[in-house]
Symmetry: C2
Subunit: 335 residues, 2 copies
Amino acid sequence: MSSLKHLAQSLGLSITTVSRALDGYSDVAPATRERVRAAAQAIHYQPNSAARSLRRRRADAVAVTLPTEPGRFGPPTFLNMLAACGQRLAEESLDLMLLPTAGRAEEMETYRRLLDGRRADAVIVVRTRLDDERVAFLKERGIPFVTHGRTARPDEHAFIDGDGEAGFRDAARHLASLGHRRIAHIAAPQDLAFAHLRRKGWLAALEEVGFADRPEFTAQPTEAGGYEAARRLMQQSTPPTALLCATDSMAIGALSALKERGLMAGRDIAVIGHDNLPAAAFTDPPLSTMEIAAPDVGRQLAEMLIARLGGRDSRELQTILPVRQVPRTTHGPVN
Amino acid sequence: MSSLKHLAQSLGLSITTVSRALDGYSDVAPATRERVRAAAQAIHYQPNSAARSLRRRRADAVAVTLPTEPGRFGPPTFLNMLAACGQRLAEESLDLMLLPTAGRAEEMETYRRLLDGRRADAVIVVRTRLDDERVAFLKERGIPFVTHGRTARPDEHAFIDGDGEAGFRDAARHLASLGHRRIAHIAAPQDLAFAHLRRKGWLAALEEVGFADRPEFTAQPTEAGGYEAARRLMQQSTPPTALLCATDSMAIGALSALKERGLMAGRDIAVIGHDNLPAAAFTDPPLSTMEIAAPDVGRQLAEMLIARLGGRDSRELQTILPVRQVPRTTHGPVN
DNA sequence: ATAGATTCCCAAAACGTTTTGGAAAGTCAA
DNA sequence: TTGACTTTCCAAAACGTTTTGGGAATCTAT
């Protein structure tokens, strides 16, 4: 059964030598090495991963737990990011494990099982919350990890994030410069770090230009959430003239609500989203939005994880990516 | 280091007894069993997964390879399906590994590494193609697997799929009954099984009612693809009065192209998609579409995988889920 | 009291690698 | 020829489980 043993027997060599030949050690004669390699190739030899992990004391796997609280989904492009990340990890022969969890208790349980059982060497934290118990747990345990999005204490761990705060500040400023005086924010739940920062950027711009009126509504980061929020905001006695939405999904919902009230985005009211989803270019009218100005967040995330596994200090691994405005039609002036 | 050894020492028992106590064997005294369990709980004992896999000769993991050919992405809801699948698998303590691959050569390489190295016990095949070398490989190797979508020979393996053929047949029939005479199909690449079946359903309905005119255009299953296809189809001298789109993403792109030509979907032309994406309810006008009439495809997929791992015959594991029409506004009559 | 069951436990052998600590043979300098 | 190096190989010990095949008490039935 044992493949290495098999190989050794068929070659008349010891297991040790075969192993070392395949790993390219210098204490095996070049001729032998080649002979072993050829034989290994011939029988499609692949070291048994469990045995290797056991001996080398590492799993060669990275885990990402996926909170699937009902009604809350990540952006549709999330899988693409994971895919890019996984591809880079694969180059280091690290596998990506996807661990969906429902509810926080279950999530911590999963973490424990994972880490006490040495099933993964490192962890990716997504849908990061401002105050995130997962981060606390991982720090305490000393497991390498990178968060996608910041926590309230980002200086204490590795993370990668877009500069949503600047993006929303810039967008709100721009709207103000176009003459908007009532710039509303359609917010995502504020325990999520990205949602908090985007709101913060919006708020900063409003304070800056001295608008006391700061209409906002918080909803789930989905089309339905955006629809509901826009409907509510437009019901006010003096409704906003601009809607700055935490995500494109919300903006798409908002567009639909506006249409129902006979308003045309980009003419009667401004709408801006965030993410630049593929669908955003095809809404009616085409959605003005913003996006992280890096084509390969997933890959960079992987890179940081690899660095972390290689012992790099987490304080050197804190990336804030610039956010680029993608103006289309819906941000137009109202007056 | 060895945790089981640690436990044994601290309890004054043998490793064997501790192991068997935790596994609930009957040849350990109830009192001892409880003592061991308490101690294990106290130190958060989790069996080392590599050691366990090595000894039990199974990885307790299921792999899904994710083709990421440029320009082709899965539907945005794909991650949700995987999450649901992973959750069910977790209940059987099976982990889900996500292996993104670019290009088919790399994909087969990944399969080999995975299976020769005994890294996964079973495989999920997604983005199934009509003639799929992955399926051939897995069948030859005798690895349990389930495909998401059928191949050209679906009777020979386990699969789960929606009845896209019936869905598109029904939709086309309905359009014909509304008086449409030129019902076009916006198709996805025909090597993908789902795309082939949907086109087949459309074609069957047209043959049935005797329409000789069968306008169609094939594009990538994205908004951009749908946009391009719609534009092309509408340029014809006598353009179609209905667009049956392989996916909602394509339909969203098509809507945008129609709007540019001043056409209002649901009044001037009919549009129907497939998937019932969250965004489909919020397009303008709201998109008529269809969806798999099961809320838990991911879970069912997991269930089949588990059955397969339990030795169930693959011929008993072939699920075709009915497709339900979701009429909204865009399917309306043109005359 | 004794043979046979039953209950509770354990030593040791796997599983398939990697790595340690040599050993044997060959080379070279004196 | 001898001693010191090199080169090339290998036996054995891990890594932490699970499982096999008992063994020693204790209990039951005669």
